[in-house]
C-alpha cells in the first residue's frame, strides 16, 4: 500500500468516525445543551426516523425526500412527547432521564410488537470508488458532508435567526425571557422537536447502511452519550471538537484492533476526560470566561 492510499484510507476512516459521532450526538446535544435534559429515548428517535424513512421509500419516495419525511415525523413525535412527559419534569432533570427511559422501553418494545423483530431495509445507494487497491463507498462521503452541514445549519439557526435568539434567551434567563413576552413553553417544545428531528435525520440517513431492527438505536447511543459527556453543554464549541477528538481515538483504535477496541477506547477517553475536565471541552474552552 503506497503513501497516498494510506493517507486516503486514514482520512476516510477518521471522517466516517467523525460523521458517526456528530450525527449520533447532535440531537442529544441540542436537547441537553439547551434544556439540560438527557433524552434516553434518543436511540428510539433514531430508530423512528430510520423506520419512517424505509416506509417512505417503500411508498415510492426517492431516498432524500424519504429521509426528510422520516426526520420531520420524528420531530413531531418528539414535540408530542415533550408536551406529554418531559414538560412536567424540567425542574427534576434526573426524573426526566427516568421518564424518557420509560418512553424508550415503550417505543422499542412497541415497535417489536407492531413490526416484528426485523424489517426489510433499503440498499446502500451510490456505489463505490477505488483508490489504489482499496474500495470506498460514496455514501460514506455523503454522511461526512451531512455531518458538517448539520453543524453549520445548527450554528446558523441558533445564532442568526430570531428563533435562535429567543431560544438562547430562554435558556439563559427563562423568567426574564417570559417577562419580555417570549412564549418559553413553545421554545422548549420546538427545541425538543429540533433535537428529535436531528435524531430522526440520523436514523434516516443511516437506514440504508443498517439492519432494520427495533433496537437499532442502541448502536448509536453509547457514541452519542460519550460525545455529549466529553463535549459538555455547548453544541458548537463542545460537541464538534469532542467529535474530532474522539474520532481520532476511535478511528485509530478501530483500524488497529477492531471495532470493539474503538468503542472501549472511547469509553476510557470519556472516563479520563471527566476526571480532568468535569465540564467537558465546553468548560475547558470557556475557562475563565464565565
Amino acid at each position: 500500500m503506497d503513501f497516498v492510499t494510506t493517507l486516503v484510507s486514514s482520512a476516510y476512516q477518521f471522517g466516517d468516525a467523525f460523521a458517526f459521532l456528530v450525527l449520533s450526538a447532535c440531537g442529544l446535544a441540542v436537547i441537553f445543551g439547551m434544556m439540560g435534559v438527557i433524552n434516553l429515548a434518543h436511540g428510539e428517535f433514531i430508530m423512528c426516523g430510520a423506520y419512517m424513512t424505509v416506509f417512505a421509500v417503500n411508498w415510492g419516495l426517492p431516498l432524500p425526500l424519504a429521509i426528510f419525511v422520516g426526520s420531520l415525523f420524528t420531530g413531531l413525535v418528539g414535540m408530542v412527547i415533550e408536551r406529554l412527559v418531559v414538560r412536567r419534569l424540567y425542574s427534576r432533570p434526573l426524573d426526566s432521564i427516568l421518564a424518557t427511559w420509560g418512553v424508550s422501553l415503550i417505543a422499542s418494545q412497541g415497535t417489536l410488537i407492531l413490526f416484528g423483530p426485523t424489517m426489510r431495509g433499503v440498499g446502500t445507494p451510490l456505489g463505490s470508488f477505488m483508490v489504489g487497491s482499496l474500495s470506498f463507498s460514496y455514501y460514506r462521503l455523503v454522511l461526512m458532508a451531512t455531518a458538517i452541514a448539520v453543524l453549520l445549519l445548527l450554528y446558523l439557526v441558533f445564532n442568526k435567526t430570531r428563533f435562535g435568539v429567543l431560544a438562547r434567551a430562554t435558556i439563559q434567563a427563562p423568567h426574564m425571557a417570559s417577562a419580555l413576552g417570549v412564549d418559553t413553553n413553545r421554545i422548549y417544545t420546538l427545541t425538543f422537536g429540533i433535537g428529535a428531528a436531528l435524531a430522526g435525520l440520523t436514523g434516516g440517513i443511516y437506514a440504508p447502511t443498517m439492519t432494520m431492527i427495533p433496537t437499532m438505536g442502541t448502536t448509536f447511543i453509547m457514541e452519542a452519550f460519550v460525545t455529549v459527556v466529553v463535549g459538555g453543554a455547548d453544541v458548537f464549541i463542545g460537541t464538534a471538537p469532542a467529535a474530532v477528538l474522539l474520532a481520532v481515538v476511535k478511528a485509530s483504535l478501530t483500524s488497529w484492533q477492531g471495532q470493539l477496541a474503538g468503542q472501549i477506547g472511547l469509553l476510557l477517553a470519556v472516563i479520563i476526560t471527566i476526571r480532568l475536565l468535569p465540564k467537558g471541552v465546553t468548560g475547558f474552552i470557556l475557562k475563565g470566561r464565565v
Binding site: I97, G102, L105, T215, M222, R275
Partner: protein, 352 residues
C-alpha cells in the same frame, strides 16, 4: 437489655416502619416465607428463588440512588461481572472444599473492586447527577458489547469458554462444605432457605447501616452536597462507599443468579436489563429499603405474570409504569402507601 439495644439500632430516621406493630408484621411475613416450602412443590420453590435473587441488586441500588442520591445505571454491569466471575472460578476450580463459597465471595469482591475503580474516577472527578447516569450506562453497554463478541474459541479463561452472545453455561451450582460431605444446592428448598436467610441478614444489616452515622451522612450528601461538605465531610468518600456497597450487593445477586440458573448471558447486562432494577426501585420507593424490597418483589411478580403474554408486552407495561411513577408518584408507590398507612395508624393511636 441487649435485645432492645439491637432493636434500637434497627430503627431510625432513615427507615420506615418502627415499633411493635411493624416488627409483628415483619415476623408474620418472615414466618409465611419460612413456612412456604412446607406447602409447595420443591420445583416451584426452586423457581421462586428467582425473585429473591434480584432483591439484593435492588437494595444496592436503593443505597446508591435512594440514600446516596447518585443515579447509577451500572447495577447490571456489576451483576454481570460477578456472574461471569463466579462461572469462570467454579468451572476452573470446582466447588469442593468450600471453594464454591470462596467463588461467590471472590465474585462479589471483583464486582466491588470494579465499582471502586470506576467510582474513583466518577466521584473524585466530581461527576454527579445526569452525567453519572450516562457514564455508568455507557460502561454497562460497553461491557455487554464486549461479552457479546467473545464467541470465538480464543476467548477462554482456563477451561471456561465465554461463549459470546449465547452466554456461559455449565458452571456448577452453589455448594456448601459440611461435615460428612458437601451439600450441593440445586434450585430447591435448601437453596431457598439459604437465599432467604441472606436476604433477612442483609435487610436488617442495611437497616442498621442507613441509620448509622454513615447512612445519615449519605442522606445529608443527597439532600445537599455543599452543606455536607461545609460541615466537614469528604462527600466523595461517602458517595464512593455507598456506590461500592451497592455494587457488591449487585454482585451478590449476579453470583447467586448464575449459580441458581447455571447460566449467564451478556444480555443480562444490556440496556433493557439495566432499566429493570431502576423500575423496581423507582416504583417501590427508592429512599427506603423496605419500600424498595416490597416494590421489587411486587413488580417482579407482575412482570413475570405478564410475560405469559410475551415479554415485549410486559416491557411496554414496565415502561408505562416507570413514566407514570415519575409523573404521578415520584417517591414511589409502595413508599407512598407506607406513608399513608403510617399516618393512619398514628392518627388512630394519637402517638408516634
Amino acid at each position: 437489655m441487649t435485645l432492645s439495644r439491637i432493636f434500637k439500632r434497627l430503627e431510625g430516621p432513615q427507615t420506615m416502619g418502627k415499633g411493635p406493630l411493624f416488627w409483628t408484621a415483619f415476623a408474620v411475613v418472615l414466618a409465611i416465607a419460612l413456612a412456604y416450602p412446607l406447602f409447595a412443590d420443591g420445583y416451584d420453590v426452586g423457581n421462586n428463588i428467582y425473585f429473591l435473587n434480584w432483591t439484593f441488586m435492588a437494595l444496592g441500588l436503593s443505597i446508591i440512588w435512594g440514600y446516596g442520591g447518585s443515579l447509577s445505571f451500572g447495577q447490571t454491569a456489576f451483576f454481570g461481572v460477578a456472574g461471569y466471575s463466579y462461572g469462570i472460578l467454579t468451572i476452573n476450580f470446582g466447588t469442593a472444599y468450600g471453594l464454591g463459597v470462596v467463588a461467590v465471595l471472590m465474585a462479589i469482591a471483583i464486582a466491588a473492586l470494579f465499582a471502586a475503580i470506576l467510582g474513583y474516577f466518577l466521584f473524585f472527578g466530581r461527576i454527579s447527577g445526569i452525567f453519572l447516569g450516562i457514564v455508568t450506562l455507557s460502561v454497562t453497554l460497553a461491557l455487554e458489547r464486549f461479552m457479546a463478541q467473545t464467541a470465538g474459541p480464543q476467548w477462554t479463561v482456563g477451561s471456561a469458554r465465554l461463549n459470546g452472545f449465547n452466554g456461559m453455561s455449565g458452571m456448577p451450582p452453589l455448594t456448601l462444605p459440611w461435615f460428612g460431605g458437601d451439600i450441593v444446592l440445586y434450585p430447591d428448598i435448601g437453596l431457598y432457605y439459604l437465599v432467604l436467610g441472606l436476604l433477612v441478614i442483609i435487610y436488617l444489616g442495611l437497616r442498621i447501616l442507613v441509620n448509622s452515622k454513615f447512612g445519615n451522612v449519605l442522606v445529608a450528601v443527597r439532600e445537599n452536597p455543599e452543606r455536607a461538605e461545609m460541615l466537614g465531610y469528604d462527600i466523595r468518600k461517602y458517595q464512593l462507599g455507598g456506590f461500592v456497597i451497592g455494587a457488591a450487593l449487585a454482585g451478590l445477586s449476579g453470583a447467586l443468579y448464575t449459580s441458581w440458573g447455571q447460566y449467564i448471558t451478556p444480555s443480562s447486562m444490556g440496556i433493557t436489563s439495566a432499566a429493570l432494577p431502576i423500575i423496581w426501585v423507582a416504583v417501590g420507593g427508592r429512599s427506603d429499603i423496605t419500600a424498595t424490597l416490597i416494590g421489587t418483589l411486587i413488580v417482579l411478580s407482575g412482570f413475570q405474570a405478564l410475560t405469559i403474554y410475551g415479554s415485549q408486552y410486559a416491557l411496554v407495561v414496565m415502561g408505562l409504569l416507570l413514566v407514570c411513577t415519575v409523573l404521578l408518584a415520584p417517591k414511589g408507590l409502595v413508599a407512598n402507601a407506607g406513608i399513608l398507612l403510617g399516618s393512619l395508624f398514628n392518627r388512630k393511636n394519637g402517638s408516634a
